[in-house]
Symmetry: C2
Subunit: 258 residues, 2 copies
């Protein structure tokens, strides 16, 4: 399996490393400034390029791992060199596959449902890959490619991927923000965030075995008005967090009287 | 160290097991119906009792591991038998230590900051214990007791414990609820929650190394109005979750124009 990756941000660079580890052949890595990726590319036995004209035409798949907003810019530049016959996929959770259709006969999506960090190696084996291709034959190819990296490969339509992306905002972006609020509240009273980390870890550990409804605890689910009132009183000095506390408590238990 | 535990709910029964494992001597376990705890008590080499009159008077500490609302009921019943000279502590995050003051000369708090589940063994070694005692000598004793179970022992005042409890609501109760929302949204479109679990795990794994502000991602922090609009459109069929999405997105980035 011969691969070209365009874009070496968090997703592109992690994928590149994982593919090579899994024995795939990474032909080229594209970055606007090839000097920035020379070391990475040579360690992966790939060619670093920053000129679309240098794109090879013989890869089995071209992965556009660029920002959501850049996909529609990059696609025609690739197609102008390779022609429309190649298989081009993007890695975005939020972008319909259709944005590739004007430029390529064969197009799809190769979306790893995970949050990546620079400078931190990623174990892909448990990461769910959400695959879509316009043509069934290409879907088979993308499935095989994903299966090299992970045991969790799903065929997901554009509509389903959009829904997953909304769910992911709740599960990653919003929970992270709530952790930040808890951290700030604790630290403002001179207590370290570390005190709260084991609780956060156990919250997630439980969800691997039981459903969120089964393990919901706290004053809201008990409709413990006295505790809720005390908490709201404390939160008067954090009006923004107080509003979040109210709304989420009501969402947990509609019987609460705020 | 001789211990009596009153109450064998999630906290009481987990503490009982952990103390014995750590070599402390558990004299008695109190439950309203001693038949229900006979097996547990005998496995811990403790006496099962359901009559306050049977309480021994020679323990070093009496742990009232009962519901928040029951502490003020149970305290006078214990004191009537033991006298006010014993060291009595409760295990509640939300209850001031002062509720014990009318009944005991020596009182305090022994609060493990964690969420416990029945039928699931708990590893106490990393659980933060929040200790408070009215008298310094008792504080030393409680610290030693907690240090048998955990390496994370903190002296925490009533006021600080109240703040921690608010933070814990954000970090445990609310994040669990958000996970439930993500689950429901995904499952309503026939996608399994398992697809989202690795993302949730990684969200927490990152927070062990970096602060929430450093790892915040998603459309809100990028002020990506186009994606936010699409998500809000999708959420029209979930008005309650739509409101939560709006409020949290605005809280993440006040520059968002909703």
């Amino acid at each position: 399996m011969k691969i070209v990756i365009i874009g070496t941000g968090n997703v592109g660079s992690h994928l590149a490393g994982a593919f090579v580890k899994a024995g795939a052949s990474l032909l080229q890595l594209f970055n606007r400034d090839k000097n920035k990726i020379k070391t990475m590319a040579s360690s992966l036995d790939a060619e670093a390029i920053d000129d679309y004209q240098k794109l090879r035409k013989d890869a089995d798949v071209y992965i556009l791992a660029v920002n959501d907003g850049a996909i529609e810019d990059v696609a025609p530049k690739v197609a102008a060199v390779t022609g429309p016959e190649i298989l081009a996929v993007h890695t975005s959770g939020a972008t319909p596959s259709k944005v590739l259709e004007p430029h390529f006969y064969r197009f799809g999506v190769f979306y790893p449902l995970q949050t990546f960090s620079r400078n931190q190696e990623t174990d892909f084996s448990a990461i769910p890959f959400c695959i879509y291709a316009d043509r069934q034959k290409d879907e088979v190819l993308l499935k095989q490619l994903a299966a090299r990296l992970s045991t969790n490969v799903y065929l997901v339509s554009d509509e389903q991927r959009e829904v997953l992306h909304v769910a992911a905002v709740f599960i990653n972006n919003f929970t992270n923000h709530l952790a930040g609020i808890g951290k700030q509240i604790a630290e403002n009273e001179n207590m370290p965030f570390e005190l709260l980390l084991p609780l956060l870890e156990e919250t997630v550990a439980k969800l691997k075995k039981l459903s969120p409804e089964e393990v919901q605890t706290g004053p809201a689910i008990r409709a413990d008005q006295a505790t809720i009132e005390r908490h709201l009183n404390f939160l008067v000095k954090y009006p923004e967090y107080r509003e979040i506390y109210s709304l989420l408590s009501k969402s947990i238990n509609k019987k609460i009287d705020l």
